[in-house]
């Protein structure tokens, strides 16, 4: 397959925290996750806080190094490459940050912000200027000559986020991790930013990993969706198929929890799962969702970790309910 852009294979990213003098604790932020992203494709990684979705995104960019697993980018294994051998990768893989209010330096003009990656990668002045103006045109900050002189505080939230996108575009990346790019932006402007990312993707063909907690925007702005829970991908597949036919009880819960604007909502009590997501230091044994799951099979779900089951082509779920074993023991 030549159109494969990035492959994450069984990624495990752990963090260690000192507790007291001698004890260290392991936070299993990502604990065995596999994802592949094709050129021109958007894969949404959806999960609640602490599910490891941001860590997975940072691992994909090699901003943190996984303790095991492989990162294959454009056919090359970059997992253990030294930083000085990674400069080509740094140019091709970029990130859009969550908070456009803190991710832009307030003392720099828009031009300086967007130009900085070009300086680092040694572009001459003429090309820098061309690329900055082109990036501003691309993110529809018209006219560019007015915006280059501005400082971040002179811009609205949506405009700032577009500067963030322009900064990520100047190096012409083939892969972008967008970490909650619209969660800090007003609801009325969210679709604008997401449409913009979609149209840029169509134009330049990059692959995007869209990290979000909002399953509703994922529905409209991704081709594939991966649902994360406590460091694991519990379900992955084509977005429309997963949302229409969620196989994992957690996916179904996430969908149920999000209201659509409907005046009848207020007469119904929403079906919810009890409890809260587990602590990644000490996740429950077996299936990590079992303490909250209404379908759990005693002696199976709480003991043994569920295997990944293919439901149909490209739609996978990690849940005992979809295996022979559960049917036998039930």
């Amino acid at each position: 397959m030549t159109d494969l852009l990035l492959e994450l294979q069984e990624i495990k990213t752990y963090f260690y925290v000192r507790k007291g003098l001698f004890k260290t604790m392991t936070i299993k932020a990502v604990d065995g996750a596999s994802i592949s992203i094709k050129k021109g494709e958007t894969v949404a990684v959806v999960g609640e806080s602490g599910s490891g979705k941001t860590t997975l995104g940072k691992t994909a960019l090699k901003l943190v190094t996984p303790i095991s697993g492989k990162i294959i980018f454009e056919g090359k294994d970059v997992t253990n490459l030294h930083e000085k051998d990674l400069k080509w990768f740094r140019r091709k893989a970029q990130m859009i940050f969550q908070d456009p209010f803190t991710s832009l330096n307030p003392y720099m003009t828009v031009r300086q912000i967007i130009e900085e990656p070009l300086i680092i990668h040694g572009f001459d002045e003429k090309e820098r200027e061309e690329r900055v103006f082109k990036a501003l045109e691309d993110v529809r900050l018209h006219p560019p000559q007015d915006f280059v002189k501005k400082y971040p505080h002179m811009l609205s939230g949506g405009q700032r986020q577009r500067v963030g996108i322009a900064r990520c575009l100047v190096l012409e990346p083939t892969f972008i991790v967008a970490d909650e790019p619209v969660s800090m932006i007003d609801a009325s402007s969210r679709a604008e930013i997401l449409f913009l990312m979609r149209s840029l993707q169509k134009k330049y063909g990059m692959g995007i990993m869209y990290i979000t907690h909002d399953i509703a925007t994922a529905k409209f702005f991704s081709d594939k969706i991966a649902i994360m829970y406590a460091g694991k991908i519990v379900e992955i597949g084509e977005t429309q198929k997963v949302l229409k036919n969620p196989l994992h009880p957690y996916t179904a819960t996430l969908i149920e929890a999000v209201p659509d604007p409907d005046p009848k909502n207020r007469f119904n009590i929403r079906k919810v799962v009890p409890g809260e997501p587990p602590n990644p230091i000490n996740p429950p044994p077996g299936c990590r969702f079992h303490p909250r799951c209404e379908f759990k099979v005693q002696g199976l779900c709480d003991v043994e970790e569920p295997p990944e089951v293919a439901f149909e082509k490209g739609h996978f779920v990690k849940c005992w309910l979809h295996t022979e074993k559960a049917r036998k023991s039930a």
Binding site: A187, T217, A257, P263, N265, R266, I269, P274
Partner: protein
């Protein structure tokens, strides 16, 4: 008569650039047992409405005027001391945005819930903690959690503690300012269910402040849509969601990505205005697809009733465009 009636409320903040007109001529009322949702984007003044009602104002207030009637009492006429003793927390309480993160880390949560009982009702501490246990049960927490410290609770539990605190003195009205915005969706659904059952069991009146119009539909009977310091549309939730009148409301609803429908979300071009120097005429005119460039730009549209109790502030419904 309505339980709460707000007329011509204004709240301006003093800044070096001139006054910020955070709340500029806002009218609404809340009946007993009713929940009013105030919906709008960040900076539209919805939290400022809340602190005007419960009168917890910052120091840089320049203008604070209008009339607020609560159960027939003119709140604006009460002295600070009377307001503190008779109204705040006793009859109107509030759950602040992010309040779960402002619990005192060195005090047990039970005592923090019991504190208003000791202060306002001269209860002794043991009795107050006993009452706190009842409140914990009411909000779905195990009563023995009164002995815990905030760091021993999860986000959803802390939010329940903060709600218990607001209910401590049996208020008739609770103002909830983005009570779920810091929570995960699965926890948000739990808290919304709790609020719904409290509303039903205690007959509470609520003002529910949120930027999420879909979430508002989960609990509100009535919705006021705010834009740039003003309410631009006010009616029952059915009217606002099913036949929105104001172009802003229409666009706001169209921008919600639907999980159960196929309509592709839209967006509103541009950004909300600076409230130091809001646009003349209708404040939405620079972003409005219907703006006529004449009347909308020059004259401030009045709030008019269409079809009975459906109020809208737009020239389309009061005399038409030029």
């Amino acid at each position: 008569m309505a339980l709460l009636e707000v007329r011509g409320l204004k709240l301006y903040y003093k800044t070096v650039r001139g006054p910020i007109k955070a709340v500029d001529d806002v009218d609404f009322s809340v009946e007993k047992g009713e929940t009013l949702g105030l919906v709008g984007e960040s900076g539209c003044g919805k939290s400022s409405v809340a602190i005007s009602i419960i009168r917890l104002l910052p120091r840089n207030v320049e203008v604070y005027e209008g009339r607020i009637f609560f159960d027939g009492i003119d709140l604006m006429q009460l002295s600070e001391e009377d307001f503190r003793r008779k109204i705040r927390w006793k009859r109107i309480s509030m759950v602040f945005q992010g309040a779960m993160n402002s619990l005192n880390p060195v005090l047990k949560v039970g005592f923090q819930v019991a504190e208003p009982l000791v202060v306002h009702q001269n209860m002794d501490k043991e009795e107050a903690v006993r009452r706190a246990k009842e409140l914990f049960k009411l909000v779905g927490l195990p009563p023995d959690f009164v002995e815990r410290y905030p760091h021993e609770l999860s986000g959803g539990m802390k939010q329940r503690v903060v709600i218990a605190m607001a209910l401590a003195l049996n208020p008739e009205m609770v103002i909830l300012d983005e009570p779920t915005s810091a929570l995960d969706v699965s926890i948000q659904a739990q808290i919304m269910n709790l609020l719904k059952s409290l509303k039903r069991e205690l007959g509470l009146s609520m003002i529910f402040i949120t930027h999420d119009i879909a979430l508002a539909s989960d609990i509100c009977d009535k919705i006021g849509v705010m834009y740039a310091g003003q309410i631009v549309e006010l009616s029952s939730i059915e009217n606002v969601l099913l036949s929105p009148k104001h172009p802003y409301t229409q666009k706001l609803i169209a921008s919600v990505p639907l999980l159960r429908g196929d309509r592709v979300p839209e967006f509103i071009p541009g950004a909300p205005p600076d409230l130091v120097d809001p646009p003349p005429g209708c404040r939405f005119h620079p972003r409005c697809p219907h703006s006529d460039g004449m009347r909308c730009v020059k004259d401030v549209p009045p709030m008019v009733g269409v079809e009975g109790d459906h109020f809208v502030r737009c020239w389309l419904y009061s005399g038409g465009l030029k």
